[in-house]
């Protein structure tokens, strides 16, 4: 497929029983872009992420990453190729320290990951990079705490730190602000902004909070009932009637 795009999906489809969760989604994302996926609950956004990251196998369609067909590639290989995701429902290593959570993600990409006779704690560059990631999300002071003891907001930050530590080119952010109170949201947004500006990564983000999406994204994709119903620049999406209907739920009544 075309080298121009970092991530491409072709008629990507996944159903659970009779429920079609993702329905023939075609999405092309260029290198360096910030794309947000919005849509009502159950629109298939997270399932789409699960397909792209390899957690689920698609029923139909193809996924291309860096021009290579990765439809059947195992999830860990996709990470090794340069993909990294975080989870909507916090998914960290609970009884391991915050630093070690991040260090493990750095280590996964290190050439020393199979070295049986090296002391992992003495691999200083790995630890330094882990600290750098923690600093990005302002968690450095909590490095020695157990992940399970962090507050929800801090666990979300840890999610993002783990994702950064994977050093992927493509970041899949699944609702970084999920379940947060209004006063906790800006800190996370700051982190996402900083990543966007400093790290020059390609970012795909699922998010509900429209004001965030509109201010950060280059393009916005809108999903409803598993299908991609609109794709375009933020301003266009805002004016799109289908999008307004999907968000206001007019389809049911009309």
């Amino acid at each position: 497929m075309s080298e121009e795009y970092l991530l491409q999906t072709l008629d990507l489809t996944k159903s659970f029983g009779s429920q079609v969760a993702v329905n023939k989604v075609n999405l092309n994302i260029k290198k360096g872009e910030f794309v947000s996926i919005i849509g009502p609950n159950g629109a298939g956004k997270t399932t789409f992420f699960n397909l792209v990251s390899g957690a689920f196998k698609p029923d139909g369609g193809k996924i291309y990453f860096k021009g290579q067909d990765i439809t059947r590639t195992k999830e860990f290989k996709r990470v090794q190729m340069g993909m990294a995701r975080c989870f909507q429902i916090t998914n960290v290593f609970p009884h391991i320290s915050v630093l070690e959570n991040v260090r493990l993600a750095v280590q996964a990409k290190s050439k020393n990951r199979y070295q049986l006779f090296m002391n992992a704690d003495k691999l200083n560059d790995l630890r330094a990079y882990a600290y750098y990631c923690l600093e990005m999300v302002q968690l450095k002071t909590l490095a020695s705490h157990l992940a399970v003891n962090l507050t929800h907001a801090n666990q979300r930050k840890l999610e993002i730190a783990i994702q950064l530590a994977s050093q992927g080119e493509l970041l899949l952010l699944d609702e970084p602000t999920a379940g947060m109170s209004a006063e906790e949201v800006p800190a996370i947004i700051e982190v996402v902004k900083e990543i966007k500006e400093k790290e020059e990564k390609t970012i795909v983000m699922v998010e509900h909070k429209l004001n965030i999406v509109l201010s950060l994204s280059d393009h916005i994709a809108v999903m409803n009932y598993g299908a991609l119903i609109a794709y375009g620049a933020p301003q266009k999406i805002k004016e799109n009637r289908d999008v307004q209907n999907a968000y206001l739920g007019k389809e049911v009544g009309a």
Binding site: F76, V79, A84, V92, P94, R113, Q115, L116, F117, N119
Partner: protein, 341 residues
């Protein structure tokens, strides 16, 4: 690290080592044999701890490796005249291959299925040894006898077994603090997430099983050399249960704990059994008490003693450690519960 700090931190270990080094000078032959059994089963329990404590997979057929090591060494020495040392490379290769084979067959679902399949494989291997068809090679229920002595005296054997335990202890310590060792803990904590940050989980579990299997095999060889005979019970479910008891009693996920567990189980086996006919019942009570009140195993006592005169940072570390242990033990009991129903 300066000598002084080194001594302060490890004084208990150093004292125990000195006692163990001097023990043969004033002990009976019988005590030496018991001590050697402790060293050998200590290694066996360490190997099991890598699997259960660190990787979080419960094998019910770990005696396969122990028995294989013992029988490979015994057969090669008795039937083919090899020296003990020459058999060890074969033991390592064969146990590694068995580990790979079992791993490829079962590790994709490293849960209760792994446990059940290893139980079945263990029983299969046991009956393979005691079968009429293999009698001429394995000696059936009688086992094999007349393995030539590898060293002249019991005392020399004692030091060899002690050196074997120390070597395996430090190798195991090295491995669990290496990058793959840390990865094993991550996989145990959250397998899905480990995959999603780019770890090939199957590879790491295979590494753990192969290392654990080879270590158990070497312990088996050593046992054959010390006892100068091998029995099918080496491969039996009873041996597996013993090693599980040692690991849980001593404290899993600590490498040192299982050695303490091995010492306790073997001392109870050897000495309680001569005083009480019903020693297993007493042992059962000890086991229940330890599980109820020392969820981290016997090694938990040392952590608690250490806790008293420690800085707050160290205290936090210990607390985290306890929490993790309790969490993991809970998971293990879930495993056993599921098996009951």
């Amino acid at each position: 690290m300066s000598m002084k700090i080194y001594f302060q931190r490890y004084w208990a270990g150093i004292v125990i080592l000195i006692i163990l080094a001097l023990l043969p000078l004033f002990s009976s032959e019988y005590t030496k044999i018991v001590a050697m059994q402790i060293f050998i089963f200590g290694v066996f329990a360490i190997s099991y701890d890598i699997l259960l404590g660190y990787t979080g997979i419960a094998s019910f057929g770990h005696a396969i490796f122990f028995g294989t090591g013992a029988y490979v060494s015994a057969l090669m020495m008795i039937k083919a005249g090899y020296s003990f040392w020459a058999t060890l490379p074969f033991v390592i290769v064969i146990c590694a291959l068995i580990g790979l084979l079992i791993g490829f067959l079962t590790l994709r679902f490293a849960t209760i299925y792994f446990t059940i399949v290893t139980l079945a494989l263990g029983q299969f291997c046991y009956f393979l040894l005691t079968n009429a068809l293999t009698y001429q090679y394995t000696g059936g229920d009688d086992g094999l006898h007349g393995i030539p002595a590898i060293l002249q005296t019991k005392t020399q054997m004692y030091y060899l077994a002690l050196a074997f335990l120390l070597a395996m202890f430090f190798i195991a310590k090295k491995i669990v603090s290496s990058p793959p060792g840390k990865t094993l803990v991550a996989i145990r904590e959250n397998e899905f997430r480990a995959k999603m940050i780019g770890y090939n989980v199957l590879n790491y579990r295979l590494i753990a099983l192969v290392i654990s299997g080879v270590m158990a095999g070497l312990a088996g060889s050593m046992n054959a050399a010390v006892l100068k005979s091998v029995f099918p019970s080496f491969m039996g479910a009873g041996t597996t249960i013993d090693v599980i008891l040692m690991t849980i009693l001593g404290g899993m996920g600590s490498i040192l704990g299982p050695v303490i567990g091995a010492a306790l189980v073997i001392i109870c086996q050897q000495y309680l059994s001569s005083y009480f006919e019903w020693w297993l019942m007493i042992f059962g009570i000890i086991f229940v008490l330890v599980v109820l009140f020392l969820p981290q195993g016997l090694i938990g006592i040392f952590y608690r003693l250490k806790d008293k005169n420690n800085t707050s940072e160290q205290k936090l570390k210990n607390e985290n450690y306890n929490r993790f242990k309790n969490h993991f033990l809970g998971k293990c009991f879930q495993l056993f519960r599921r098996q009951d129903s």
